[in-house]
Each structure stands twice: as structure tokens, then as C-alpha cells.
Symmetry: C2
């Protein structure tokens, strides 16, 4: 899956996407609103690409989020997944039951703590997640490519700044 989008990469080297740069007074209301709006439209644009695949499977975005995090951290516990998603046990239960019934996700009893149920993708679950990821990747790789490497660093920095400091370790752990 470590596939370079060569077209986007080429474009990155050649012509970074022009956007109006932030002004020295980049905390003015208009610039705040610009960030709010771009975050809203960017986020919804990115995830919209996977919706068609999900719908064909009779799954929704909630299922996608679970598949994504289980793929990212195989063997994570139900409690850890609840914490990442920020939803209740009961909300996650239905999603996890759906995924289990479709044999996309498997549970094993924890080794160190046998109360835990550790989650992994089955082969077909991994295949579906890969297809969904490819959709997100297409969108993100194009954006990275158009904006350029330096912009990506700024993109990450602002987004991490939006996360309350108390929650940052969890996000960083995911990416360790």
C-alpha cells in the first residue's frame, strides 16, 4: 500500500497549489472562519469518497471508523476503541456485532488481561479496509501533492493544535 501517486508527486515538485497566504494578522475573524470552513469542507470531501463502497456493503461510516482503527492498531481492545471513537459501549456494540456477523472482525481473549477482547480484521475485513483506505488515500495524496511537503507539515501542526493537549498523547500513540 506504500504507493506513490506519481502524478500528484510530480505536480508537487512543479507547482504547489496557490492559496491566499495567511496574513500577519492571521487571527482575524475572517481567517478563523476560513479555517473553520476549509476544515468542514475538506473533511467531508475526504470521507465522501468511501461512501459508495460502504453503501454497497450495507455499512455506514461508523463501521468504517471501526475498521480503520482496527486496521491501524490490530489487537486493540474494545475499551481502547471506545476511547478513540469517543462513543459509548452500547453504540459501539451494534457496530461491532455487525462487523462480527459479516466476518470482517474477529475477537480474541486478551493474553495479559483475559477480561479484554482484542480486535483484529479477518482477511475479508482487511481487504475491505484496504479498498476504503485507497479511497481516502487518493483524496489525501492528491491534496498533499498539490500543496507540497512544507504545507503538509503546517497542516499537521494546525490540526494537532486543535486537539486538546490532554488528548494529544492518544493521537500520537496511534501514529507511533
Amino acid at each position: 500500500m506504500t504507493v506513490l501517486n506519481s502524478a500528484a508527486a510530480t505536480q508537487a515538485a512543479v507547482s504547489p497549489l496557490k492559496v491566499t497566504p495567511a496574513s500577519p494578522l492571521f487571527l482575524r475573524e475572517d481567517e478563523i472562519r476560513r479555517g473553520i470552513e476549509l476544515l468542514y469542507f475538506g473533511y467531508t470531501s475526504m470521507i465522501r469518497g468511501a461512501d459508495a463502497i460502504l453503501e454497497a456493503q450495507g455499512l455506514g461510516r461508523a463501521h468504517h471508523r471501526s475498521l480503520y482503527f482496527i486496521a491501524r492498531r490490530p489487537g486493540l481492545s474494545v475499551g481502547e476503541l471506545i476511547s478513540l471513537l469517543g462513543i459509548t459501549k452500547q453504540s459501539l456494540a451494534r457496530v461491532l456485532n455487525d462487523l462480527g456477523n459479516r466476518e470482517l472482525v474477529e475477537q480474541r481473549v486478551g493474553v495479559v488481561d483475559r477480561r479484554q477482547r482484542l480486535l483484529t480484521l479477518t482477511a475479508s475485513g482487511a481487504a475491505l479496509e484496504a479498498r476504503l483506505f485507497t479511497e481516502l488515500e487518493r483524496s489525501m495524496a492528491r491534496a498533499y501533492g498539490e500543496a507540497g511537503q512544507q504545507a503538509v507539515t503546517g497542516f499537521w501542526a494546525v490540526l494537532m493544535g486543535l486537539v486538546p493537549p490532554a488528548d494529544r498523547p492518544q493521537v500520537e500513540a496511534l501514529q507511533g
Copy 2:
């Protein structure tokens, strides 16, 4: 509302938030996943701040989005709002009826096209939107301040790159 967060602004000048910079191979899967995750957590972190205010009013995020765009573009038509939100007329109708019944939003017949209903906030609607905006602003201003001006430009560039080119004019028009 053009309030500078002086603490954040000072911090911006002094010590931009350190994040692992994007590598030259910034299209590798890990870096794509990092973007996906930060976008998810950043977006949800930002909007979560307004939820308490909304809940106290008996309103939800759908109401907030309508209030936001009506505040941003006073006098926009119902059709324009549908297009911005990407939802159906029937979905918006319920939200707009709620906001009208609470006298937060008013409708006027269009001047150039009398079929249109042009939306504006009432005084109390504007007051509520301002409170909600202040919450988002707090979060965004802190992130801008921590990351620094240059990072903000990159943040905008990547997000605009995520938006399909066909949809970009609409986003830019909002910010004209």
C-alpha cells in the same frame, strides 16, 4: 469579534508548535494515515466545544451549521444553503422550521426572484451564532497561534486540495 488571542499570538511569535515534519516521501502510507487521523481528531475536537451551548438550547449540530452559514452569508437562499450543506430539501426543512419557530432565523421573499426565500438571522439568532462562533474561534485561534502563520497557509492549502476542484469555487465564494 475581531479579537486577538494575545497569549496564543505571543506564543506564535516565540515558539511554533513542534510536530514531526513531513518527510520527502510524504506520500507514504503512514503519512497519509497521519493526515487522515489528524483531520478526524482535529475536526471533532473543534466542533465539540460548541456542543454544550447547543444542547442547552435543545439544538444539534445540524442547526449550528445552518446558523453558521446564514451568519456568514446573510440573505442566502434556501437552495444555496442546501447546496452548501449537501443535504436534501426535506432534511433542511426540519432544521429551518426549528430555527424559525425559535425566532432565530427569518425568511424574506427574494427581490430579484420572488420564488426564493432569503435567510437572515434575527437579533437573538445572531447572538447565539456569535456565542457558538466564539467557541470555535477559541479552538482555532489557539491552534493557529501554536502552529504559526506559515503553518496556517499550509493548513489551508492541503484542505483546499481535499475539496474536489468542481466544488472549490463554492468554497472560495463563501470567503470572497
